[in-house]
Amino acid sequence: MPVFYSGQIVTDVELNSGTGCVVDNTIYTGTPTALTQFSNLWDVGPSQAVVGSAWRLTVLGKTVQDGTQRAQNYYIGYGPSGASQQEIVQCSSADQPINSTWVWTVTIHLIITTAGAGGRATITGTLAAGQVPNNSEITWTGGGSNLTFNTTVDNKLCLLLDFGSAGTNYFATYCSIFERLS
């Protein structure tokens, strides 16, 4: 969190080198059957990270199932252009009942464990979802440690989603909150 004092004139350098939080309220909806970006493509700029640098990305959304049981997948996109993928959870078609809505949060943590061109990171994500009424829920955490993460280049972080098949089912995400923790 940025720490400023009364009367301080804030500069770009301070804003960009400090920690902080940004909110994006773009709404993403759709029924993808291949992993698709469902949050802003958040930027982790080149040479902004050292060992122990950490970020938290929170996404609020829902999943609406139609009358057919369908699998759904929650992944993290990371690295240059967010092109690398890491699984949070693959939900089977039996997990969410037909014609139901799950309201959920996904919380992703990115922690740099080694800086530099040969850098490494631990990236985890937790899906926590519940149905109205209390018929089903899922809470799952996945991710990876010692993942390749070159801190000298521009990296991105985002949430990726898809279904096993398409009908009138859909995902909707309402906002993402990107916090720099250290």
Binding site: M1, P2, F4, Y5, S6, G7, Q8, I9, V10, T11, D12, L15, G20, C21, V22, V23, D24, N25, T58, L60, K62, V103, W104, T105, A128, A129, G130, V132, N134, E137, T139, A172, Y174, C175, I177, E179
Partner: protein, 179 residues
């Protein structure tokens, strides 16, 4: 959390209006209707706009008496926090003690008198030893949220009855301004 612009002169008002605040008032009782178990956090009139966001976290315990009952958690929001939304209701075994964390997010999507917010709550609780557990997320997508008036935010808790004298004890709450 503070959000400043390049060249902005930061004032005490800016500093005090943003960031994280902690309230460690212990609120305890045998509540049988949704009751504020946190302080009534203030979101003043005209202090939010599109993309303003908050996270409210509460930690505490629910100690069931000799009879198993339903335990529930909710969100109070809007003017006087008078609008109530139940996140979850769960059957808690007799004599079980649950340690819980409740996290609530409010993200203002549209400002103004006809404003709108996405409000979501998450309850996570576990018993020692590992006999029972709760994980649940639910929300109002979207909720009416008039940013031109004073709004409050709180977390609610109660039991389905007072049989056996169950006790809710909330130890503290943390309100963070995220945007």
């Amino acid at each position: 959390m503070p959000q400043y612009l390049d060249g902005q002169i930061v004032s005490d008002i800016n500093l005090n209006a943003n960031g994280a605040q902690v309230n460690n008032t212990v609120i305890s009782g045998t509540f049988t209707s949704p009751t504020n178990i946190t302080t009534l956090w203030d979101i003043p009139a005209n202090s939010t706009t599109s993309r303003s966001a908050f996270r409210l976290t509460a930690v505490g315990t629910t100690s069931m008496g000799t009879t198993g009952l339903n335990t529930q958690w909710g969100i109070g929001y809007g003017p006087n926090a008078a609008t109530q939304f139940i996140i979850d209701q769960e059957a808690q075994p007799a004599s079980a003690v649950w340690y819980y964390t409740v996290t609530v997010w409010v993200m203002v999507n549209i400002g103004g008198s006809g404003g709108q917010a996405y409000i979501m709550g998450q309850i996570r609780a576990g018993q020692i030893p590992n006999n029972s557990v709760v994980n649940w997320t639910l929300g109002v997508l979207p909720a009416a949220w008039n940013t031109t008036v004073d709004n409050k935010l709180s977390i609610l808790g109660n039991f389905s009855a007072s049989t056996g004298t169950p006790v809710f004890t909330n130890n503290c709450s943390v309100l963070e301004r995220l945007g």
